[in-house]
C-alpha cells in the first residue's frame, strides 16, 4: 500500500496506530470524567484501556500486512516493517504492564485511573520515538514518553521514594534532553535537514565535519542516557527502585526498548556514513555498561534494585548488536528486546505480587522457601532468572546467541568476550534468587501468606513464561519474521549529489 505522507489523509493513515491509541486514551479520559471514585471504576478503566492497545496493535498489524510504504520519502514517521514490528512490541509491553497493574494499584491504594491514560500516552510517545523518521517527531515522541513516565514514576504519592524517583528521573532526564536537543541542532546545522534519510544522504556525501561529529556525539549522549548506558546510568537504579513496581517494569522494558529501536534507526539511517566514528563509542559504552551493570548488581540485596542493575547490564548486551550495524544485528536487537521485554515484565510482575502493601522492598531473604509455598510463582521467577542469565532452552539464550553472533560476524572479539564474562558474572546474582526460592526453607510457615496473585496478572505472567520457554526451543517463526523486518532498515545512506 502506497501512502503519501504529505497529505493529511496520508498522514492519518500512516499514523493510524498512534492515532487509534490516542483516540482511545481520550475516550478513557471521558469515562474517567464520570467514573473516578471507587475501586471498581479504576478497575473498569484499566480493563477498558486494554482495548486501546488491541486496536492500535490491530492498526499496526493491518498496515504491516498491507505492506504500507511511503510515496517518496518517509516524512515525520517511518513506514516500514521495522516500525510496525516495533509498534506491536511496544503495544504489547504497554498492555502487559496494564494487566499486571490492574489489581496492584488497588492493593497499594493508588486509586487514580489517570494512571492508565498516562500509560497509554507514554506508549504513544514510545511508538512515535521508535517510528520517527525525522528529528522533530523523534524529539516530541521522546518528550511525550518522558513526561508521562516522569509522572508515572511519582505516581505513588504516599511514598517518599516514589516522589524522589520522579524528581531524579525528571531532573536528569530534562538535563539529558538538553544534550539530545543540542545534538539535533548541530546535526541540523551540518545537514540543513530534519528528515533522517536526507540527513543520512547529506552526511554521506561529504567527509565528517566538526559540526556533524559534535552533533552525533551529543545525540549519542542523549540516547545513552535513555538506554541507561554507563556512565549515564546512575539515575536508573534509584528511579527503578523508587517507582511503583509495574512502572519500573514499563521503564525497564518499554522505555528502554523504544530508545533502543530509535537508536538503531538513527544510526542506520542518519549516521551510516560515520560508522567507523561511532563504533568505538558504542563499543566502549557496551563494555563499560556490561561490566559495571553486572558487577554492581552483585552487591545488591533489594531484588528490585538488583533487577535495575541487571537491566543496565542488558542494555550493554543490546549495544553490542547496535555496534554490529548489520541486518543480523538489527534482527538481534528485535529478538533480544522481545526476549528481554517478556522476561522483565514477567519478573517484575511476580515481584509486584510478592510485594507487601506499603513501603517494604522485597529482599532476597523474603523469597526463601517460596518454592514450597508458591511453586508456580517460584518456577516462573526461576525461568525468568534463567532466561536473563541466557540459559539454553530459554528465549534469553536465543537472544544472547544472536547478539554475540552478530558481533562476531563483524570479526570483533573483544566485545563478545566481555559480554560472555559479564554473563558469567551475572550467575552471581541471578542464581541466588533461584537458590533462595528452591533450596532454602521458609523462615516461618506464614512467611508468604501476604502474597497475592490476582488472576489477570497470573494469566499474563504465565503467558510470558510459557512463551519464553516455547520460543527457547522453537524460535523459528519469530526469528524469520524478525529478520524479514530487520532488512527493511537500511544500513546505507542514499547518497545525494552535493549541492
Amino acid at each position: 500500500m502506497l501512502i503519501d505522507l504529505s497529505t493529511p489523509g496520508g498522514a492519518v493513515l500512516g499514523l493510524l496506530p498512534e492515532l487509534a491509541l490516542t483516540a482511545w486514551a481520550l475516550v478513557i479520559l471521558l469515562v474517567i470524567a464520570w467514573r473516578h471514585t471507587t475501586v471498581a471504576d479504576t478497575r473498569l478503566v484499566g480493563q477498558l484501556s486494554i482495548v486501546g492497545y488491541v486496536l492500535a496493535a490491530g492498526a499496526a498489524g493491518w498496515l504491516g500486512l498491507q505492506g504500507a510504504h511511503a510515496e517518496g520519502l518517509n516524512l515525520m514517521i517511518a513506514l516500514d516493517g521495522f516500525r510496525f514490528v516495533s509498534d506491536i512490541l511496544l503495544l504489547w509491553i504497554g498492555a502487559a504492564v496494564t494487566v499486571i497493574s490492574l489489581r496492584w494499584l488497588e492493593r497499594q491504594g493508588m486509586l487514580a485511573p489517570e494512571y492508565y491514560v498516562l500509560l497509554m500516552l507514554a506508549t504513544v510517545g514510545m511508538m512515535l520515538l521508535a517510528g520517527a523518521a525525522d528529528m522533530i517527531t523523534l524529539f516530541l515522541g521522546l518528550e511525550v514518553m518522558s513526561i508521562s513516565v516522569y509522572v508515572l514514576a511519582g505516581y505513588d504519592r504516599s511514598r517518599r521514594a516514589s516522589a524522589e524517583a520522579a524528581l531524579k528521573y525528571f531532573l536528569i532526564g530534562a538535563f539529558a534532553s538538553g544534550f539530545l536537543l543540542y545534538g539535533i541542532a548541530l546535526t541540523y546545522g551540518a545537514a540543513g535537514q530534519f528528515i533522517f534519510s536526507l540527513i543520512g544522504g547529506q552526511l554521506a556525501a561529504t567527509p565528517p565535519t566538526l559540526m556533524a561529529k559534535l552533533g552525533m556525539g551529543l545525540l549519542l549522549v542523549g540516547f545513552a542516557f535513555k538506554v541507561a548506558a554507563v556512565p549515564f546510568h546512575a539515575w536508573a537504579p534509584d528511579v527503578y527502585e523508587g517507582a511503583p513496581t509495574p512502572v519500573t517494569a514499563f521503564m525497564a522494558s518499554g522505555v528502554k526498548a523504544a530508545a533502543f529501536l530509535a537508536l538503531a534507526r538513527i544510526l542506520a539511517e542518519v549516521f551510516p556514513a560515520f560508522v567507523e566514528l561511532w563504533r568505538p563509542v558504542v563499543g566502549g559504552l557496551a563494555i563499560a555498561t556490561i561490566l559495571v551493570g553486572n558487577l554492581t548488581a552483585l552487591a545488591q540485596t533489594s531484588l528490585k534494585r538488583m533487577l535495575a542493575y541487571s537491566a543496565i547490564a542488558h542494555a550493554g548486551y543490546l549495544l553490542l548488536a547496535i555496534w554490529a550495524q548489520s541486518d543480523s544485528g538489527t534482527a538481534a536487537v528485535l529478538i533480544y528486546l522481545l526476549a528481554y521485554g517478556l522476561t522483565t515484565v514477567a519478573a517484575f510482575g511476580i515481584l509486584a505480587s510478592i510485594e507487601r502493601t506499603g513501603t517494604e522492598t522485597v529482599r532476597l531473604a523474603d523469597l526463601e522457601g517460596l518454592y514450597s509455598t508458591r511453586p508456580l510463582a517460584a518456577t516462573g521467577l526461576s525461568v525468568c532468572m534463567l532466561s536473563l542469565l541466557g540459559f539454553p532452552g530459554t528465549f534469553g539464550f536465543i537472544g544472547k546467541w544472536l547478539l554475540l553472533s552478530s558481533a562476531l560476524s563483524q570479526g570483533e572479539w573483544l566485545l563478545p568476550l566481555v559480554a560472555m564474562i559479564g554473563s558469567g558474572i551475572s550467575i552471581g546474582y541471578y542464581l541466588p534468587v533461584v537458590l533462595a526460592m528452591v533450596m532454602k526453607p521458609a523462615p516461618n510457615p506464614t512467611a508468604h501468606d501476604t502474597i497475592r496473585f490476582p488472576r489477570p496478572a497470573t494469566v499474563a505472567i504465565a503467558c510470558c513464561v510459557f512463551v519464553i520457554l516455547v520460543l527457547g526451543f522453537w524460535p523459528n517463526p519469530v526469528l524469520n519474521f524478525a529478520s524479514r523486518q530487520a532488512v527493511q532498515l537500511r544500513h546505507t545512506a542514499v547518497v545525494i549529489a552535493p549541492r
Partner: protein, 98 residues
C-alpha cells in the same frame, strides 16, 4: 549573520547551565538551569535557521512547547517531593542510593 559568535555564545550558555546543575542544591534552580540549557540550544537553532530556512525556527517553537510542558510537570513533581521532605534541597533527597 553572527553564525560563529552565536554558536559560541550558545555553547557558553549551555555550559553555564551544566555548571548550574552541578553546583546548585535547590531543585527549582537546578530545573531553571536546565531551562537555560534549552534556551542556549534555541539560540543555535535560530542562528542556523538563517541559512537552513524557517524549519529551525519551527523547531524552536516546539522546544518552547516542550519546555512549558516540562515546567508544568516538573514543578508538580517538585511540589510532590516538598510535601514529603518539606525541602527542595537536593543534598537531602538521597533516600535511594547504593
Amino acid at each position: 549573520m553572527f553564525l560563529g559568535p552565536s554558536l559560541a555564545l550558545s555553547a557558553v550558555l549551555f555550559a553555564l547551565g551544566v555548571v548550574g546543575v552541578l553546583i546548585q542544591r535547590n531543585a527549582i534552580v537546578v530545573f531553571m538551569c536546565v531551562e537555560l540549557m534549552l534556551n542556549a540550544v534555541n539560540l543555535t537553532f535560530v542562528a542556523l535557521s538563517q541559512l537552513h530556512g524557517i524549519s529551525g525556527q519551527i523547531m524552536v517553537f516546539f522546544v518552547m512547547t516542550v519546555a512549558a510542558a516540562e515546567a508544568a510537570v516538573g514543578l508538580a513533581i517538585i511540589l510532590a517531593i516538598f510535601r514529603h521532605t518539606k525541602s527542595v534541597d537536593l543534598t537531602q533527597i538521597n533516600l535511594l542510593k547504593g
